[in-house]
């Protein structure tokens, strides 16, 4: 299937090139974000009536995992308010082109951190505290504020947006799954880039900033590290940047060879399964353990969580690889074949989120009217009773998502394994078994 260049439409192109539409969305997002922090800190401690919990963990999460990531990849990052204050501070400007001299320290991120291990760790940290985070407005407020300040702090020390690129726990998994999205930003003609003087897309010019994500657009081959900030569309003097509509998961045709990215796939896959069991399962003991941070039960939960993600899941996967005879190093096969787990993991999250979101969506209506839980009734919907929605389509919907994910990952496995010339069967069997576990947990 061919690609369709969306930026060929002058309307889309101008909307992306101009800073104002994006700025308008940014401002709404930033106001919402700051309101979520305040609501978390000063609003009611009852999670299901607090804006920060309901809007972040139900509304935003639903949009992110069910719509934004599958269809727009890093589309959320294009409008995310978290890096904004830091970027404004770093540039000493909100809209105008950059000054000559870099502000602040502007250091380069040390080489050992230039991978996504910090993101893996930051995601895991949130994951291990997730039961408290998901249910306690205070904690959600503090975490949201901490992300904002971390982004500001890092932008005064390091060049570009180090927070987004190397630390953001959300950015890590959006980047992984953005490879499956049917949207991409790419250059149009490699030759034009080769001859382009000064590479303003990377270095910046009077038209805009150099790529905040520290990627050279001329070399982009997958969505993972492009934040869709649209700066390169503004800076490229040769009109060589395009936003394309493309087949789903086009990036996965070229499997990654990076171990940090392979482990991100396991972290996400494992977390979706653990959450499905702990949060949506009938076992009270797991919930107690996950919630009571600091107790010995919680430490057991942490150990089991980490053992599943770093031991059991990758362990069985590796055993499967060892069964296939290959002359390539195991590490290489491991990373390449883990590509097949990306669509599987995304659909695990979709299936998990469906039940979580549909059963709790009615809180959104109530929280809208009384976002802080102070007893307001702005839209007359404060007393809307809790009511799970669409429970009759839940099981078929989850089945569809999980079976679809399995087919998608089996096909990805076939492509990845033909790239490196080994059998795809162990990877397909592995995906099949994990899918069965997910059926058992969710249905």
């Amino acid at each position: 299937m061919a690609k369709i260049e969306l930026t060929r439409s002058p309307f889309i192109k101008n909307a992306l090139k101009s800073r104002y539409p994006q700025l308008a969305v940014f401002i709404i997002m930033l106001v919402g974000y700051i309101f979520a922090i305040l609501a978390g800190l000063i609003g009611t401690p009852v999670g299901s009536h607090n804006f920060s919990i309901v809007f972040v963990w139900i509304a935003w999460w639903a949009v992110l995992i069910l719509v934004a990531v599958p269809f727009f990849g890093r589309g959320w990052c294009a409008v995310c308010p978290i890096p904004l204050p830091g970027e404004w501070l770093q540039r000493g400007a909100i809209l105008s082109p950059p000054g000559k001299r870099p502000k602040w320290l502007n250091l380069r991120v040390p080489k050992m951190f230039r991978n996504i291990w910090m993101q893996n760790i930051s995601f895991l940290l949130l994951a291990l505290f997730s039961s408290v985070l998901l249910t306690t407005p205070n904690i959600t407020g503090i975490v949201l504020a901490a992300m904002l300040f971390a982004a500001i702090g890092l932008s005064t020390i390091f060049e570009r947006c180090a927070f987004c690129r190397y630390l953001c726990p959300v950015g890590g998994f959006i980047g992984l799954y953005s490879q499956t999205a049917p949207i991409e930003l790419r250059i149009k003609d490699k030759q034009v880039c080769v001859q382009c003087e000064g590479k303003p897309c990377y270095n910046g010019s009077e038209l805009g900033y150099g790529c905040p994500w520290d990627v050279f657009p001329g070399g982009l081959s997958k969505n993972t590290y492009c934040g869709l900030c649209m700066e390169c569309i503004r800076t490229c003097p040769h009109d060589n940047i395009a936003v394309n509509l493309r087949p789903f998961s086009a990036d996965l045709a070229k499997p990654s060879t990076r171990i940090d990215e392979a482990f991100k796939a396991f972290i996400m896959l494992g977390s979706a399964m653990i959450y499905a069991g702990v949060l949506l399962g009938p076992w009270g003991a797991f919930k107690d353990a996950a919630y009571n941070v600091g107790t010995s039960a919680w430490f057991m939960y942490v150990i089991i969580f980490l053992a599943i993600i770093f031991g059991i899941l990758p362990g069985f996967f590796t055993l499967g690889i060892l069964k296939t005879k290959s002359r390539l190093p195991v590490k290489h096969c491991f990373a390449s074949l883990a590509t097949a787990l990306i669509p599987l993991g995304l659909m695990f999250w979709v299936a998990f989120s469906l039940s979580f979101v549909l059963t709790n969506a009615s809180y959104i209506v109530a929280a809208l009217s009384d976002p802080l839980g102070f007893g307001w009734n702005l839209f007359g919907t404060t007393n809307t009773a809790w009511q799970p929605m669409l429970t009759s389509i839940l099981a078929p919907g989850q089945t569809l998502a999980l079976v679809g994910g399995l087919i998608w990952s089996a096909r990805t496995a076939q492509k990845a394994s033909s790239e490196i010339n080994i059998s795809s069967i162990p990877t397909i069997v592995y995906s099949f078994i994990l899918t069965l576990v997910m059926f058992w947990l969710l249905l």
């Binding site: 949506l280 009938p282 099981a395 087919i407 249905l443």
Partner: protein, 147 residues
Amino acid sequence: MNPRLSLLLIGLAGLAVAFAPLPVQPIAPQERTFEIDARQYAYSPSELQVNHGDTVTIQLVSTDVVHGLYIDGYDISVEADPGQTASLTFIANKSGSFRFRCNVTCGAMHPFMIGKLNVGIDNWLYRSIGLATLAIFGTVISMRQKA
């Protein structure tokens, strides 16, 4: 066999697996009573097994704060005050697996206070296993076709 034809057959089999009505075994309906203890944030027992057509009575006993029990799909509920027993009776006339959950805000983990009611066999679990198996066959066949 022609691979296209086999894919078509697999597709048809998939539709059958997804939508064909399952035979309901004619088991004489019974009356069943369960006593369920509710505490923050779990039910005990947390899984109930009944047959299609049974008349089910749930006696909900709350051991700490006010808790509720709402059954997805059946859309019925009951609420129990601390130390009190509340009772709910219904006819299990829909098959499958249904979550029941607390419908009275009872503390932090309230949204995750969940149990499971199985009426007959868990329809979607078996259908989904069948579909996943067919899907794998289909994928392998299409792989052969290309090879």
